[in-house]
């Protein structure tokens, strides 16, 4: 029992830096994605933000950015899924909510 508790504590301690590393790596991808998107290179931005969500699937900002890029490319189904994932991860994030509301206005027009 004691050994098991010790093992769990060791694993948790070991996992924490791993998670931090994943977030750091994902963040680098996100930052690079932002810089290329600002220059209009949306395909490259999508590649970077997809990588970021693979490295750290809990990174809401990466999902949000990916949603915007999909929207810009006209892939509205993927955009919706990415926005919903971002909001699932950070339901209180006002910026993601705002992006999603604006997206829904456009999406409704296409389905009307």
């Amino acid at each position: 029992m004691r050994t098991a508790a010790l093992l769990i504590a060791v694993l948790a301690l070991a996992a924490a830096p791993l998670a931090a590393d994943a977030r750091d790596d994902a963040k680098k991808q996100v930052e690079f994605g932002i810089s290329v998107a600002q220059r209009g290179l949306w395909r490259e931005a999508i590649y970077r933000w997809e990588r970021a969500t693979q490295i750290d699937p809990t990174y809401a900002a990466a999902h949000n950015n990916l949603a915007i890029a999909y929207e810009h490319e006209g892939d509205l189904a993927k955009a919706r899924a990415a926005y919903e994932k971002a909001l699932e991860l950070e339901p209180g994030n006002a910026l993601i909510k705002q992006n999603y509301e604006l997206f829904k206005e456009i999406n409704d027009r296409t389905t009307r």
């Binding site: 963040k27 996100v30 900002a61 006002a94 910026l95 705002q98 509301e101 456009i106 296409t110």
Partner: protein, 256 residues
């Protein structure tokens, strides 16, 4: 719709506060909207005419045809065919005479003028007349044909409305308070259907129904034609997005 806009504004306001405190970047985007209908097979479009009714103040057939042609000319890649507007109501009447046996038989009585939605039902058969549309298609080199129904009717509704009223208290201080009053409102309703027909086969490719209403204070005089254009303005984006791709500009917030 208003509630949704208010919630959107509120979320934009909240977002602006957050923008100042987080690593975020506003970026312009252009969302391409694909057309609902694949019109790649057509080079030309014929807005043929409409079965129209309702108020006599507006010729729904002529005005709708003219408006849609001018919109398509500037906002679609299809070449718009200039032709006389088809008198579809007469065509529908003739069609009925043909169906009743034609030749020596007595002609069917003319269809009643269109005053309300149910009056349109008697004319619907004209859109299903594949041979007729195929013939029209051959005449105009097999374009995409746009037709349908338009019913523009006066509307009157008595309802409780909220308005703001100035009041002064015993000290002469001015206040604005909401007051609910019963008010007579008048306006128009625009109902109908856009029908898209393949000029090669005469078959219907796509159809979409619409209903828009506008109400004014009873003492406000708005010409019927102005109201008609105001209501059509609301329908045009949806109509155009059926035929042509559009790009909607906006901004979003990227997050770090």
């Amino acid at each position: 719709m208003i509630a949704r806009r208010v919630s959107l504004l509120a979320s934009v306001g909240a977002a602006l506060v957050v923008v100042a405190c987080t690593n975020s970047f506003e970026i312009p985007i252009e969302t391409p909207i694909r057309p609902k209908l694949d019109v790649a097979a057509f080079q030309r479009v014929l807005v043929a005419g409409f079965i129209a009714g309702g108020t006599e103040d507006v010729d729904g057939n002529l005005e709708t045809t003219r408006l849609l042609r001018s919109q398509l000319r500037t906002k679609s890649e299809l070449r718009v065919i200039d032709s006389d507007v088809l008198p579809l109501q007469d065509v529908a009447n003739e069609g009925r005479n043909g169906d009743s046996g034609g030749g020596g038989g007595a002609a069917a009585p003319a269809l009643a003028p269109i005053k309300e939605q149910k009056d349109l039902d008697a004319y619907e058969h004209v859109f299903a007349n594949v041979e007729y549309w195929k013939r029209i298609g051959e005449e105009y080199q097999q374009p995409l044909i746009v037709t349908g129904t338009v019913l523009f009717t006066p509307l009157q509704r008595n309802q409780i409305v909220q308005r703001e009223q100035e009041v002064y208290d015993s000290f002469g201080r001015r206040r604005v308070v909401p007051v609910r009053t019963y008010q007579e409102r008048k306006g128009f309703s625009l109902d109908g259907r856009f029908i898209f027909i393949d000029g090669r086969s005469g078959a219907t490719l796509h159809s979409e129904s619409f209903n828009e209403q506008i109400l004014y204070n009873a003492n406000q005089t708005t010409p019927a034609l102005s109201s008609y254009f105001e209501l059509m303005d609301r329908l045009i984006p949806s109509f155009l997005s059926t035929l042509s791709s559009q790009k909607i500009k906006g901004t979003r917030i990227l997050l770090q």
